[in-house]
């Protein structure tokens, strides 16, 4: 797996102060705060649906996915739109930063002590100056969908 991410480019996002990276080639759109329609009875990770230029996009709250507490009310997240199996999904994060090109030397596998919930959705970690960037593996992030579907 590590070969696949040599010198890769990532869109950096922040959640609860932690920096994450989403492979730039997967990202279709970055949106500011959106009006999201809640869907009662849906899996808790699903924040709702939103209208992206006439397309209905399912919004997934990354905080819930990572087992983090919800954002304080009044604070609105941003959306990173990715496509998974032909369907658009919007990943909701606290903020979106710059696009970074990162060198393979700085990459390391997940520490085995990492929270299993995080380990499940991340490929590994980049050591940056002063902070760490966790690489999100989008198909795994949206994995709970298949579990729900199979049920």
């Amino acid at each position: 797996m590590s070969t696949a991410i040599e010198n890769a480019e990532f869109v950096t996002v922040s959640i609860e102060g932690q920096l994450f990276g989403i492979p730039v080639l997967m990202v279709q759109d970055v949106l500011g705060p959106q009006k999201i329609t809640r869907i009662p009875l849906s899996p808790k990770e699903v924040a709702g649906v939103l209208n992206l230029r006439g397309r209905i996009v399912t919004a997934v709250e990354l905080r819930t996915r990572l087992g983090l507490p919800m954002r304080a009310s009044g604070e609105q997240g941003m959306s990173v739109v990715v496509e998974h199996r032909g369907e658009p999904y919007s990943l909701i994060v606290d903020g979106v930063g710059e696009v970074m090109a990162l060198k393979a030397e700085a990459f390391e596998r997940n520490p085995p002590t990492l929270n299993p919930r995080w380990r499940e959705v991340s490929l590994g970690v980049y050591r940056l100056d002063g902070k760490l960037l966790v690489v999100l593996e989008v198909p795994k992030v949206l994995d709970f969908l298949e579990i729900a579907e199979a049920a």
């Binding site: 329609t37 009875l41 209208n51 006439g54 209905i56 969908l145």
Partner: protein, 903 residues
């Protein structure tokens, strides 16, 4: 050319073209299972269709080829270039036969023993290096196939998915009839298959010219071929247009006196029409997909030695053309399966205490935005043990896993690829193509398939297809701050409930109910069901709330919401895969204001709130629907004022034109008001005596016409045209008025047009016109049977005016009494829906014996559908006309009489 045959040729040419390409791919990727599956299916389909068209040469050859492919698919044989060459040679031979078939409409004589021997050898694993040079090298590109065929130029371009999208209803019906006729022809001689194959031979010399003509008329005639994806695209555009229109309307609604209002109104109208038009191009009754089935079942019953009764219900259920196209083949497969695997032989049936004729029932109906299609047989049902054995044999699950499975889960194995419980492989089915294809095709269009089976009693497959493409009207409601859409179609009524009003929510323990017209209506609080923190929880209990009364099957319940907004036209979009298993939603959509909204599925809500909708309930509902149908004499009515205070009504179908005349032009001739109208004198009649002709200005006139004669009814004001049931409740003795009925919520006088027609006619003669009985009727005697006095009163004078001597009877029994008393008529006109003996039974009775055996009977009905038409013809009616279609009625009578005279 036989329509069925030409369809077969188109399809087979397409399949052969695809096969060429696929086989070459296969040679390059010999281990691609999906490629193999596809090839196998195509050959299987060709074989199947040949089988029921009675083309033995093609069938045997395709069968042999399929055997080899089956071995490839199961991994028993390795794909080698030699074997592919052999298959390609087979394809070339098939093509040669097909093109000959196209030219002469008969299979050419000849023998394929050489190829079949090689194929059989190959199936046993002995691929000989081709002994003879192969006819043609495997073509790499798709050749344009058979330009002689009318569809020829399209074939090469059309892939499998892009099936041509023409076919008018008429054509389909023609196919249906042609098939039936053919079936009737071959029913007599014993050797059915041979007859079908050979019958066209004597015509062979004319074949070419005929085909050319058929080609001309089919293409240049009333229909053109349009690719389905083009229609699809059009539909998407229209859907978007509708949404944009809605958005604009919403914006303009907020502004008073906008200059945009008028053009937008127009735009809105045009958009609606466009939308309806585009929808219509795509809708077809499901019966068109069923048309082939009686023939298939008939042939199967012969082949399998079983007695099979095929019943088709709900053939008029309309569904989207593309959906129809996609479920056509699965349906055929399933009916074949039912006949082959499901039903037992007569001997088996008798030993199980059943009648020796097996029954396959197809039933289609709409339910809550879905179309449900049931295929039900009363055969042996699925055998759980056999399935288990097969699952183990195929290694699809372990014994332990099987033990833990419910019967239902076990049954679902039949939808897995390569699974067949048929003991032997017949040419009909049993190769395990079929159910997995069926499932794949249905899931492709977002549908589901389910199976209920009971050993010894039979199986029922239920296909549920959502109407994903449809634009529906939906009610927008709010609950706990969230908005939802409820399809208007499932809303029965809206009730506002508050503790102070008459309608209030009561509780039995924790169960909320509403007293609604002396019945208790179970309630579902959406906020509770959805676990929403209800800002409205307090409101629902104390303040006002709205109850959406919904019906699922015959089961009614109410959904409690906080607010109800507008209705809006919405385009139903399927929900994301992740949300598909939440049964309370049937889709989602984007509203005019740009926000996304979830569409509620009342079926799902009923189910998830623990309400059971039983099968019995459905039966009740069917009965109720039938009853409704019977009473449903809805018709378009023209409402107007003419003297008095009550509005008055006449059936719109009787009205020829609405005119305004200058009162100054009204003249009086022998005490009769007339006006010069279209070069003739038209008598004018006032409805009531207290009606005044305004001295100046213009006066609206309702014009009734009969042939070239007109009669004008003076009215004060035209009010409206409404569609309503016409149930005359209060009769009156006043001349010219049939009675009073509630129309559009108001007591309305129903005007007796017949009276005025008669009055005008009398006057006509008094005025010394040279009009005589030169009419169609020519004084022939006609018996009119109709249980509704309104129709009797309306039709009798009409027919009299047309020159018939009319006798009326209020029911079939009364008519039969007339027969016994020795009365004779030239023609009988009978209603179908009557209490007691209905029209069908009446016609059968008349045809059966007695003095009227030869008297032609024309059926009269509120609704005319092809199914009724067929049934009517069987019962002995010579023609079938809609009650309110006067011109068609007169034309039909004239035709019937001239025919019976000629005979």
């Amino acid at each position: 050319m036989d329509d069925l045959l030409s369809e077969f040729l188109t399809e087979t040419n397409e399949s052969l073209a695809v096969l060429d390409v696929e086989l070459v791919h296969l040679e390059q990727n010999p281990n691609n299972p999906s490629l193999l599956n596809n090839i196998f299916r195509l050959v299987h389909t060709i074989k199947g269709t040949c089988g029921f068209l009675g083309l033995p040469r093609l069938e045997t050859l395709a069968h042999a080829g399929e055997n080899v492919l089956g071995k490839f698919r199961d991994g028993a044989l390795v794909v080698t270039p030699d074997s592919v060459t052999l298959i390609l040679a087979t394809l070339d031979r098939l093509k040669a036969i097909v093109s000959e078939l196209e030219r002469t409409e008969a299979e050419p004589a000849g023998d394929d023993a050489d190829l079949i021997a090689r194929l059989d050898a190959a199936a046993l694993g002995k691929v000989a290096a081709a002994p003879a040079p192969v006819k043609a090298p495997p073509p790499v590109a798709v050749e344009p196939v058979e330009p002689a065929s009318e569809e020829g130029p399209y074939d090469a371009k059309l892939g499998r998915q892009l099936k041509p999208g023409e076919v008018t209803l008429e054509e389909l019906e023609a196919v249906f009839r042609a098939t039936e006729a053919a079936a009737a022809e071959v029913a007599a001689p014993a050797a059915a298959a041979e007859v079908v194959a050979e019958a066209p031979k004597p015509e062979a010399p004319h074949g070419d010219t005929q085909m050319a003509e058929a080609g001309e008329s089919a293409v240049a005639g009333q229909s053109i071929r349009v690719r389905v994806d083009l229609l699809e695209n059009l539909m998407t555009m229209v859907s978007e247009l509708v949404l944009t229109r809605n958005q604009l309307l919403q914006m303009v609604r907020k502004i008073n006196d906008s200059e945009f209002a008028a053009p937008l109104q127009r735009l809105s109208l045009v958009t609606t029409e466009l939308q309806e038009g585009v929808m219509k191009t795509r809708m077809q009754p499901i019966g068109s997909a069923w048309a082939k089935l009686p023939r298939i079942v008939r042939d199967l019953s012969r082949e399998l030695g079983k007695k099979i009764d095929l019943v088709m219900q709900g053939a008029e259920t309309e569904l989207d053309r593309q959906v129809l196209e996609l479920i056509k083949d699965p349906l055929t497969h399933m009916v074949r399966n039912s006949a082959d695997h499901g039903l037992e032989t007569p001997a088996e049936r008798q030993s199980n205490g059943k009648g020796d004729t097996g029954r396959i029932v197809l039933n289609a109906y709409h339910e809550g935005g879905h179309i449900l299609i049931e295929i039900r047989d009363d055969g042996r049902g699925l055998d759980a043990q056999k399935i288990k054995a097969k699952v183990l044999e195929k290694g699809l699950a372990t014994e332990a896993e099987l033990e833990a499975m419910s019967d239902r889960e076990l049954h679902r194995f039949i939808f897995k690829p390569g699974f067949s419980t048929a003991a032997k492989v017949t040419s009909v089915s049993g190769r395990g193509v079929g159910m997995d294809v069926v499932r794949t095709n249905i899931e492709k269009i977002g549908g589901t398939i389910d199976l209920r089976t009971e050993k010894g009693k039979g199986s029922t497959f239920t296909i549920k297809i959502p109407l994903t493409l449809a634009i529906v009207s939906a009610l927008i409601v709010e609950c706990a701050g969230e908005r939802f859409a409820v399809p208007q179609i499932s809303v029965v009524e809206l009730v506002r409930a508050s503790p102070t009003s008459e309608q209030k929510i009561e509780r039995i323990e924790n169960t909320a109910v509403l007293r609604l017209r002396d019945r208790l209506l179970p309630l579902v609080f959406l906020n509770e069901l959805f676990g929403l923190e209800a800002a409205g929880a307090g409101i629902a209990k104390q303040g006002e709330s709205y109850i959406i009364v919904t019906q699922v099957g015959s089961h009614r319940f109410g959904m409690v919401v906080d607010r109800v907004f507008d209705t809006e036209e919405i385009v139903v979009k399927p929900v994301a895969p992740i949300l598909r298993n939440i049964s309370v939603y049937s889709g989602n959509t984007i509203l005019g204001d740009g926000s996304v909204i979830m569409i509620l599925d009342p079926n799902g809500i009923a189910a998830s709130s623990g309400q059971q909708v039983s099968d019995n309930a459905r039966a009740e509902e069917d009965a109720a629907a039938k009853k409704d149908n019977r009473n449903d004499d809805r018709m378009a009515l023209l409402l107007f004022h003419a003297g008095g205070t009550e509005p008055k009504a006449v059936p719109l179908a009787l009205v020829a034109r609405l005119e305004e005349i200058e009162t100054a032009q009204v003249e009086r001739v022998a005490g009769q008001m007339v006006v010069q109208y279209r070069g003739q004198l038209m008598p004018l009649i006032s409805v009531s005596d207290d009606q005044q002709l305004s001295p100046t200005g213009r006066q609206p006139v309702v014009v009734f016409a009969d042939r070239d004669r007109n009669m004008g009814l003076l009215v004060d004001e035209i009010v409206d045209i409404v569609e309503d049931r016409l149930a005359v409740e209060l009769r009156t003795k006043r001349q010219g008025v049939l009675g009073s009925a509630v129309i559009a919520g108001k007591a309305t006088e129903v005007v007796d047009v017949a009276h005025f027609l008669g009055a005008a006619r009398e006057d006509w003669f008094m005025n010394g016109s040279k009009q005589t009985l030169d009419d169609k009727g020519d004084g022939r005697k006609l018996l009119l049977i109709d249980d509704s006095p309104f129709f009797r009163n309306m039709l009798a004078p009409l027919l009299q005016v047309a020159g018939y001597q009319v006798t009326t009877a209020e029911n079939a029994e009364a008519a039969l009494k007339m027969r016994e008393s020795g009365e004779a008529f030239d023609v009988i006109l009978s209603d179908i829906e009557m209490p007691g003996m209905d029209g069908f039974a009446f016609a059968e009775a008349v045809r059966h014996d007695g003095s009227w055996m030869k008297t032609p009977i024309v059926a009269l009905s509120g609704h005319v559908s092809p199914r009724f038409f067929e049934r009517g013809r069987e019962a002995g009616f010579v023609d079938y006309v809609a009650k309110l279609d006067r011109d068609a009625l007169l034309a039909s009578l004239e035709q019937t009489l001239s025919r019976s005279h000629a005979a």
